[in-house]
């Protein structure tokens, strides 16, 4: 049963006896615009500070302190909304639908970290993102993830990004916000399943560095792309790399590319053949992505409330469904013509198919390029942080004996604790090199 629009069934009274005045109808204001701009200013300041601390000061401790500040400010104080990760959906929606605007503050949250990533790498992830800072705090004993698993799981984030863009651009909701595992923790309330997921991720994060960042975060994918082009970036050693391998296992997110100097010699001809095959595979993957994406789009459209409603109303009209749902009843009460609903739904289905195809292309492209880049043998003399994967947390610096020398700290005989067991066999070599 649906209440009809208000009707004046009872005329409002005249208070002739008492001259009673109607109480005013007021409510608390929303947050002031200046405070919203303050958030942007804090973001900008934190980004600049993070870039300076990570690249110039090379100070892990100060970065961690800044991370705690960001966690408190953007996480627990601002309750996680709006965050840069989610803001890309507002931008996508505004791009997909001209009538949906995007507020300046949201735009700034979406673009500033990307601009910084283009210049300095992922300094946002280092100490500004509350999600990253929370996981960083939990990290106690990172274990290495095997490369095949690492590369495979990272595709999850690319897929998540693609899907989120499909839904946002078609007005189908913000799945990044809906399924965010950490915002319920910042708010101390939220859907139970999400709280469980968040806590589970944090527990996994005790041993696997930043699981959300590496394998799920859609914004991290964009930051990684931007960081690939960055002009200034994390350099593990402040001087020249001596290939001492001390930093090899220091990265909690597996972002250090080893030197290829003592990599086993591979059969160049076989490598080339594999590369040719993989390049030939790329168009196949793209075509598959296009096809599957289109199919997926048709199904994803059902998640849109208008498409869903249209299907329900259609069923009811055909007599396949006896009762009404709350949504169909509410729609029927508006008296809107059914043809409009069907047209809107049909239009949406078309947009979902298009968006699904683009998403499929994107995933195909990502997989194809990943296979190709893995097959290309790149010669690397030094140990280097991978531009896209490095989150600029500055942990590796102190593992480098050159850095210790720069700081005037004693260069340890034994490698730092996280390396235990890993380079034990190479210790004499490392020592010899650090002495030389």
């Amino acid at each position: 049963m649906i209440p009809v629009l208000a009707v004046q069934r009872f005329p409002p009274p005249q208070f002739t006896e008492t001259g009673h005045l109607l109480p005013p109808l007021t409510g608390p204001l929303s947050r002031a615009l200046t405070l919203e701009y303050l958030d942007v200013a804090v973001l900008l300041g934190a980004l600049a500070l993070a870039a300076w601390l990570a690249l110039r000061q090379r100070s892990r401790n100060w970065l961690a302190t800044l991370g705690i500040f960001s966690l408190l400010y953007f996480g627990f104080w601002r309750k996680g909304c709006v965050c840069s990760i989610g803001s890309i959906q507002n931008i996508a929606q505004a791009l997909g639908d001209p009538s949906a605007g995007v507020p300046l503050t949201v735009l700034a949250f979406g673009l500033l970290p990307l601009v910084f990533a283009l210049l300095f790498g992922r300094v946002f992830c280092a100490a500004v993102c509350p999600h990253g800072a929370l996981q960083d705090l939990m990290l106690i004993k990172p274990v290495a993830v095997p490369p095949w698993l690492e590369h495979g799981l990272r595709l999850l984030a690319h897929t998540y990004l693609g899907l989120a863009m499909v839904f946002a651009a078609t007005g189908g909701g913000y799945i990044i916000c809906q399924y965010d595992p950490f915002v319920p923790i910042f708010r101390f309330s939220g859907a139970t399943a999400l709280v469980v997921a968040g806590v589970a991720l944090l527990v996994v994060g005790l041993f696997i560095g930043r699981p959300y960042c590496r394998f799920l975060c859609p914004y991290g994918v964009l930051l990684g792309l931007a960081a690939r082009l960055s002009r200034w970036r994390v350099r593990i050693t402040p001087d020249t790399c001596t290939q001492c391998r001390l930093c090899e296992q220091s990265c909690p997110v597996g972002a250090i590319n080893p030197s290829t100097l003592d990599a086993p010699v591979r059969d160049a001809a076989a490598d080339k053949r594999r590369l040719v095959w993989l390049i030939a595979l790329l168009p196949v993957l793209l075509a598959a992505g296009l096809g599957l994406g289109g199919l997926a789009g048709t199904n994803l459209a059902r998640r849109h409330r208008i498409v869903n409603l249209a299907e329900r109303v259609h069923q009811e009209d055909l007599g396949l469904a006896a009762d009404t749902t709350d949504a169909s009843a509410a729609w029927r009460a508006t008296g809107a013509p059914v043809a409009d609903l069907y047209t809107a739904a049909q239009d949406l289905r078309r947009r979902y198919v298009l968006a699904g195809r683009l998403c499929g292309l994107w995933i195909g492209l990502v997989i194809g390029l990943k296979l190709i880049t893995l097959a290309i043998r790149r010669r690397r003399k030094d140990y280097e942080a991978d531009q896209a994967r490095c989150i600029a947390c500055a942990r590796c610096y102190l593992y480098c004996p050159q850095e210790l020398r720069r700081l005037g700290l004693p260069v340890p005989e034994a490698p730092p604790s996280a390396l235990e067991g890993v380079v034990a066999s190479d210790r004499p070599q490392a020592e010899a090199q650090s002495r030389s």
């Binding site: 209440p3 208000a6 409002p12 009673h20 959906q89 605007g101 673009l111 002009r231 409330r305 709350d326």
Partner: protein, 183 residues
């Protein structure tokens, strides 16, 4: 190394230009200086009760408000009383509201004024339904912005069957019912 640096510079320059182009494109498509907040359009709301349960907050940010200019000040308020009340008094068993959040005050014969105690209201919408179906529809639900944390996507909006919740300019954060009817 020099060449790589140069290449890096060119690439990041291109990236910056790309972001700039995105920004310019969006500006044309209305970047708003002002933020938005979520609000219920009371003329669309069907008082389904989801506002009480779907908000991400422990205590829903939605509350019942009263548009006094629409109210008939009825002695037998269908938003206040159970359908067949024993007596027209404030005894709890006669009240529709599960938390007793509505105050009933005598003004002058035969008029009574009903005000909401927002700290008790759980936004179940029972009174709204009663008032809208049999009365003037002056009781309605609104998201209160001292409580709402302004989620990037409101979870009640996601669940609302009437599509009654939308973004409104942050400077006019309420959509109160008035005698003029839906805007």
């Amino acid at each position: 190394m020099k060449r790589r640096d140069f290449l890096g510079g060119v690439l990041s320059g291109t990236g910056l230009l790309g972001l700039g182009a995105l920004l310019a494109g969006l500006t044309r498509r209305r970047v708003r200086a002002e933020g938005t907040v979520w609000q219920i359009d009371p003329w669309k709301c069907t008082a389904c009760g989801r506002c009480a349960t779907e908000c991400v907050l422990e205590q829903s940010a939605t509350k019942c408000v009263h548009a006094f200019e629409l109210c008939g000040y009825c002695q037998l308020c269908t938003g206040y009383f159970e359908p067949q009340p024993n007596r027209l008094n404030t005894a709890a068993e006669n009240q529709l509201c599960p938390t007793g959040a509505i105050n009933r005050a005598f003004i002058e014969d035969p008029y009574y004024e009903y005000t909401i105690n927002e700290s008790l209201c759980v936004a179940c919408g029972k009174c709204v339904k009663g008032c809208t179906m049999f009365g003037n529809g002056s009781l309605h639900l609104q998201i209160r912005h001292d409580r709402c944390v302004n989620c990037n996507e409101c979870s009640i909006a996601r669940a609302c069957p009437a599509e009654a919740i939308r973004r409104v300019p942050a400077r006019q954060p309420y959509l109160y019912k008035t005698r003029e009817g839906p805007a």
